[in-house]
Symmetry: C2
Subunit: 121 residues, 2 copies
């Protein structure tokens, strides 16, 4: 699937119980279902969540590029979604996934490969 520009999130009534923010987005923590490592945090709009559920692969909304993206679209490191969990106040998701490769564009297994001290000594 190539990138899909635009979003119909605001016009579709799906998933009304989730608390989307003022941009129509919800943060999604991505956790390796096997190792339990936290791999990354992405943002989803309703379309990204719908595509994730339909395809079984993680899709996000890129805030910087302003478009939907299928994780691994260019790198091949797709993420098969085992389970989508939701927090107590329904404003954050937790995706438990089987990743095909490193989650991070740097090649690191997880985007959280540094401590705060390493960047802010």
């Amino acid at each position: 699937m190539s990138s899909i520009k635009g979003s119909s999130a605001e016009t579709q009534p799906a998933l009304p119980l989730l608390h989307w923010d003022e941009r129509g987005l919800i943060p999604a923590v991505v956790q390796d279902a096997t190792t339990n490592a936290v791999l990354m945090v992405g943002w989803m709009n309703a379309d990204a969540l719908r595509l994730t559920e339909q395809s079984g692969e993680a899709h996000f909304w890129s805030r910087s590029r302003g478009q939907l993206w299928r994780k691994g679209e260019t790198s091949g490191n797709v993420m098969r979604v085992i389970e989508v969990r939701v927090d107590c106040d329904e404003d954050t998701l937790l995706l438990r996934v089987n990743p095909a490769g490193p989650a991070c564009h740097t090649g690191a297994v997880s985007c959280f490969y540094r401590t705060l001290e390493e960047i802010e000594p």
Copy 2:
């Protein structure tokens, strides 16, 4: 410590490499350092992060109440912070903690105690 109203995040130059959002906040995923369970996601401003580092216990910024809070302040379920990690683009934190009790106000170990299907059948 009682709740601290107000914030000096905007006036303090600390932690310039982190990418705070337009509200001066950054999301913080909280993970149990022993079980690797994802417990919750909170939001921090610079003061919350500073208090966390100074005290060794997790502090957050409550967006609903508009004030700083020490996690466990009323419940006693404080979280001792073992490590603060940062993601590749420096806009999300990962706190690895030893929790004194359930993370969720419902009494659940984790705020992510339901699947999406359970709330949006």
